[in-house]
Amino acid sequence: MSEHAAEAAPSAPGSTPRAGRSDGAWIRASSVYIAFAALVILDLIVTPGFRNPAVIRSLLFDSAPVILIALGQSLAIGTRGIDLSVGSVMALSSSVIGISLSLGQGASITFGIGAGLACGILNGLLIAVLRIDPLISSLSLLVAARGLAQALLGGARMDLPFAGPIPWLGAATISVIPVTALIALGAAILFAFVVKRTAPGHYAIYAGASRTAAFLAGQPVRATLAFVYGLSGLLAGIAGLFATARLGAADPNYIGVQFELDAIAAAVIGGTPLSGGRISVVGTIFGVLLLEVLDASFIMNDISSTYAQILKAAFIVGALYLQRAGG
């Protein structure tokens, strides 16, 4: 029951299981772990080469950026919002890294992540100050950030040099674990700390549980929303760096395309309800891993990845349907 700690909103790690929870709710809450375990076992049996360390390495490389944006997404969803812009923000971060390479890789990393943060802050201001619905503001940013990313590089792909910190990030591993995955894990732990133990994280959950009650309790609801979307942008900026490093190129047409969907799917499958007020960090991470293993299973069994897409679509609808059934 270690997952329990991760799901219980502000109320806390190490808490005793709550009274009055039905078995159905327990199954819903742990379905992501069951599904993940079942898929891995199935793969170990039927998929040739699944045990190969190279497969695990590649899987983790792909997962790292998605974990980052899924964390940001889960917090946005926890406030009863959504952030559709994360995929495009990744692309923007990638492009900014590309155009600023001449300033040195360190500087370009800073600028790339900064671009993500800037997008997030803009999104947060649109939502908190102009009170635009998060769905609408982040949809607009989805279009605009992708457009800016393409314009910055003239629509072309830009290859990175073979040496330096960025290519290193794209290849470095400790045993079979990529450095980027370790960083993502570190970020997740930090993120969990922010959400579970700090005031801004608590405020986000309160805002998702009841905006009016939060306002009347004197909480800084709008500042919290700005913070949440800013954080999501920052994480998307880092995710853009990781994806760029892995690809070995800044590519505004390829990086982050439809990643917002994966991020939402991972959060929802992982047990963060779209109705807000709850967030599951560990569940979100396993949601990402589940989706990535699913993709890999199809590819390794030579089944067209388009079927993986269809299955993913079914997963999302199914997970949401389960959430609805649970009220």
Binding site: L84, G147, L148, A151, G155, Q258, L274, Q309, A313, V317
Partner: protein, 328 residues
């Protein structure tokens, strides 16, 4: 602050301001379109030539048809993100159907689109799942289906009359333009002059009230998504006829561009407000921008996304500001 409680002259002022705001919302895009055309015409001498204008409009037909359905759905208070993939699937279905004649090649994609709309609509209306989730899932599924059917692309065999539909002229005007204008006229008629249109506005304006006033909300929702899917299918069929091929990635991004066009045209993403002329102006404005970017040799096509994104973002911000003014 409360104009309602104030004396009469204050109230009149408030109404006038609301009316002006309403006009900017509904007609602003047309004004911007005309200004942009004048500016572009004075800078690029070729811009206003008949051939170039025809290029802009014919190229805009495919997005334009999709934007009609999208406008309906947005006014209803929803989104349809599945339309882009449906265009791609539509081209593929048309390519498969063409050997059996132009009628199935034209009609089957439309029927497929209506079927997709039916499923989307039922899921949204019955289970009350968020429209963007349902249609996003449909986007994935349809894209997968198109690739599974055709791979990247397939040729339309012996296009014949089917090809003519999208390439010939009628009374000197490209068929596509005739179709686009007719579709918008019909769309405006349905939206503004039929009980179905009134029901769409009512649901987008206040769903609970619409239900109370006796509108069959579920049925109207399902029907609206069917309209959107059907138009995306038609757009796909015409695109296949135009290009003589079924391309699974055709229509990629139309879901966002059609939303952008509608919003730029004054259709409120919060639902309940919008016009067909505005949406058409939005489509043409996006087309005009693309055309201008192509005219500036040094600018690459990569700027098109930036331009439409910037316009969309500005439109959303301006609309948020205008709506607030109207309310206060």
């Amino acid at each position: 602050m409360s104009a309602a409680a104030g004396p009469a002259p204050v109230k009149r002022q408030a109404i006038d301001r609301a009316r002006i705001v309403g006009l900017i919302q509904s007609r602003g895009a047309i004004l911007v379109l005309i200004l942009a055309a004048i500016v572009a015409g004075s800078i690029f001498p070729d811009f206003l030539h008949a051939a170039n204008v025809e290029d802009i409009v014919t190229a805009g037909t495919f997005l334009g048809l999709v934007a009609i359905g999208q406008t309906f759905v947005i006014i209803l208070g929803g989104f349809d993100l599945s339309v882009g993939s449906m265009v791609g699937l539509g081209t593929v279905i048309a390519a498969y159907a063409q050997p059996f004649g132009w009628v199935p090649a034209l009609l089957l994609p439309i029927l497929a689109g209506i079927l997709v709309g039916l499923i989307d609509g039922l899921l949204i209306a019955r289970t009350r799942m968020a429209p963007f989730i349902v249609t996003l899932a449909a986007l994935l599924a349809l894209k997968g289906a198109a690739i599974a059917l055709a791979g990247e692309s397939m040729v339309v065999a012996r296009p014949g009359f089917f090809g003519q539909i999208a390439n010939a002229h009628w009374l000197g005007v490209s068929n596509l333009i005739v179709i686009l204008v007719a579709a918008y006229a019909l769309g405006a008629l349905v939206l503004n002059r039929t009980p179905f249109g009134a029901a769409i506005f009512a649901i987008g304006g206040n769903e609970e009230a619409a239900r109370m006033l006796g509108i069959q909300v579920e049925r109207v929702k399902v029907l609206t998504y069917c309209v959107s899917g059907g138009l995306a299918g038609l757009s796909g069929a015409l695109l296949a006829a135009r290009l003589s091929s079924g391309i699974s990635s055709a229509g990629n991004g139309y879901e966002l561009q059609s939303i952008a066009a509608a919003v730029i045209g004054g259709v409120l993403l919060t639902g309940g407000v919008g016009t067909m002329t505005g949406a058409l102006a939005g489509v043409l404005l996006l087309g005009l921008i693309n055309n201008v970017i192509n005219q500036i040799g040094s600018l690459s096509a990569a700027y098109q996304g930036l331009a439409s994104g910037t316009f969309l973002l500005l439109a959303v911000i301006i609309q948020a500001g205008l709506s607030r003014t109207k309310r206060s």
